[in-house]
């Protein structure tokens, strides 16, 4: 049987899921946590606590700073030590709330037991309000506030909810472990999301390199359907392994065979996509009143002696996680936050984890070395690999010529999803993505300015 996949481009990097057998274990709580105020796309949150305040786990630390923004909660109990800028993963200063940990006291009303509650409220608005109050953001990496995504603009109708369990990046296993260990919770979270959106169909999409997860989720859903009719219409779909299947537009193509137009959103073709970890967070928020205070992080790499999938409190310093697992290996030269394809190298190991931190990946010099750049031979491999149907070789030339922003826009540089397939497939080792990302930022800046000017003119 040939499984579905997206229709254009894509590459097949080695799987390397070496931490797939490691059960999710809970990391001890560090002595100090640093909680960033900008953990999501959109406006940074505004702090509502002051230095010296005592906080409990789950207490609101900061309120949304705009429409596209989210609540931030304390992940530990203790005293607020400072609210000041601190270097983030990239070394740039960002506002941070520093909390000195004292014990582990949870806010009243949060259910910390492991009992699975299958029955959820009938009113969609109640569920949505709980999701907003829990500060849930897309945990697949984009960290877009979930409550905004679940409120489709008027006139747009959702046909299908897709739960993204692809985890197409090599090395990452946290979503896979979540599906295996908390499959029921994910399925209930899916049902809640489906209920809020008012759709009949929901699909949990999993790549076929995770057969255990597919089998497990099918069993879980079969059992849940016996309990309640609310679980009807949720199915598990096995997709062919191909990177970047977990990209929103690629996943819609693979599951629904619909294409999102340039500049469009998934809702334009009737799809809403949520990550597995987000579905779990939704379950926690609605059924247990538990905001996002922890998330699972894969710590892996061939050179790393102790592979692990850890449940980490938000704001835990990276060094604490690494020291817990035995310290930085001697031959590791690069630590990446996220997977090897789209993750970013970490410049500062004293930085703290965010809600969206999915993995720490250790690489050796041999693994990170870049080949010497040579001339483009117009082989077209990058264009073949691009899942968005762009021509990276052309965008590269236009970007390097300088001042060709109109031509770049005409060639849809703004559609680039920065998946890195072009760079991965280039035989001449041209840093295509590095160059294209630059012009994408410039072009999108111009497009935003133009849109703002157009709305101002209308008024």
């Amino acid at each position: 049987m040939s499984n579905r996949t997206f229709s254009i481009g894509g590459v097949h990097p080695a799987d390397n899921k070496i931490s797939r057998e490691c059960k999710i274990e809970t990391l001890p709580i560090p002595e100090t946590v640093y909680i960033h105020l900008g953990q999501h796309i959109g406006a940074p949150a505004k702090p509502v606590v002051a230095v010296g305040d005592k906080v409990k786990v789950g207490q609101v630390l900061a309120e949304p700073g705009g429409f596209v923004s989210a609540y931030i909660h304390s992940s530990v109990s203790g005293t607020v030590k400072s609210i000041a800028p601190r270097a983030d993963l990239a070394g740039n200063p960002q506002m941070c709330i520093e909390i000195a940990v004292e014990g582990d006291e949870w806010l009243e009303g949060i259910d910390t037991s492991d009992t699975v509650i299958t029955d959820f409220p009938d009113e969609a608005s109640v569920c949505l309000e709980k999701i907003k109050a829990a500060g849930i953001v897309g945990l697949g990496g984009a960290t877009f506030p979930t409550h905004v995504k679940l409120s489709p603009p008027p006139g747009k109708k959702c046909d299908m909810l897709i739960i993204n369990g692809c985890e197409c990046e090599p090395y990452l296993t946290s979503d896979f472990r979540t599906l295996l260990e908390k499959g029921e919770q994910v399925a209930i979270g899916t049902a809640i999301l489906k209920h809020i959106l008012g759709v009949d169909k929901a699909t949990i999409a999993i790549e076929d390199n995770k057969p255990e997860a597919i089998k497990h989720m099918k069993e879980v859903l079969a059992n849940l359907r016996k309990v309640s009719t609310r679980f009807a219409g949720i199915c598990v779909m096995s997709l062919m392994k191909k990177y970047p299947e977990g990209g929103e537009k690629q996943l819609i193509d693979a599951v629904m065979h619909r294409q999102v137009a340039s500049g469009g959103l998934p809702i334009d073709v009737g799809a809403v996509i949520q990550n597995v970890a987000t579905a779990l967070a939704v379950y926690d928020a609605v059924q247990k009143n538990k905001p996002i205070v922890d998330n699972s992080v894969t710590v892996t790499g061939e050179c790393f002696p102790r592979q692990a999938n850890l449940l980490v409190r938000v704001g835990t310093p990276l060094r604490f996680i690494i020291d817990y697992l035995g310290g930085v290996p001697e031959n590791a030269v690069k630590v990446i936050s996220g997977g090897p394809m789209m993750g970013r190298a970490i410049a500062n190991l004293d930085a703290a984890t965010l809600k969206g931190t999915s993995a720490l990946l250790f690489l050796t010099r041999e693994q990170t070395v870049r080949g010497k750049e040579s001339n483009c031979i117009r082989c077209g491999k990058c264009a073949e690999a691009c899942p968005m149907g762009l021509e990276p070789f052309l965008l590269n030339r236009l970007s390097r010529a300088g001042g060709m922003l109109d031509a770049l826009e005409a060639n849809a540089v703004q559609d680039c999803i920065e998946c890195g397939c072009c760079l991965y497939s280039c035989p001449a080792n041209i840093p295509l993505l590095d160059v294209i990302r630059q012009s994408k930022v410039q072009v999108m800046g111009i497009m935003r300015a133009r849109a703002a000017a157009a709305t101002a003119a209308k008024k």
Partner: protein, 309 residues
Amino acid sequence: MSAILWTIIIIATLGLVLAVVLYLVAERFKVEEDPRIDEIEKVMPGANCGGCGFAGCRAFADTAVKAPNLDANYCPVGGNEVMKKVAAILGYEVQEKAPEIAVVRCNGNCEARPRINEYDGYASCRVKAALYSGDTACSFGCLGCGDCVNACQFGAISMDPATGLPVVDQEKCTACGACAKACPKNIIEIRPKGPRGMRLWVSCMNKDKGPAAKKACANACIGCSICFNTCTHGAIVFENNLAYIDPAKCKLCRECEAMCPTGAIHATGFPKPLDKDAVKARIRERNTKAAEAKKAAEAAAEPQKKEEE
């Protein structure tokens, strides 16, 4: 033989007829253009660098002819000499501008600013700046990939391998500003060259608080505000833990340079090297005199107050 003759006759006639047609068409559809545009273009440097803010020398000439005065048009490459010629052609008055030069506001060399990580990505400052704060603890300083060098059309800027910082060639720099635009950290500033090339500037852009700045780089401006308190001309602007010397107000006394604890204030073009101790002694003397004068004034004011009471 006759074949060659016929060919010559036919081609010559054809040429003549087409020449007449071309002439008539050119006359009929002639575009009137100000002849002064060509004249101005001739006196321009012809580098088409865009330093004036227009697309090239001809675009500059075109706008200069249409403008009511030359306030918006200034060629930094040609300087006052070229502008005098342009003004003569147009019959305008030209306001002479002090010649300018690019100044690098970072002195985080390899010794002062230790590398805390290694960058192995694409060698471009813009790419590097978009990825992270840089390979040192200072998130404001030079990234060292040489985008400014690539931007310069005059070969006036080069990377010094010893310090890892760009160096501006005073003779070649035309102050077109291409390097300043190319730098993602905005560390290059176009400043007046100063009288006989004498100028002072703060060679740092670090806006961190003192301890953080000092930890990142030994040559950083730590925002101690000593220069601000020393300057008697009000030339130092102090903002976000960073000093800036206003070239319009600076009298080149070099007192700030002598007092700066980290050597973040740089000077160039001065005939004599700075005698720090002498300048410091001078400032001390002035301060004690001022304090004495203040005391004396207070002492003089006190009996008056008593009398009033």
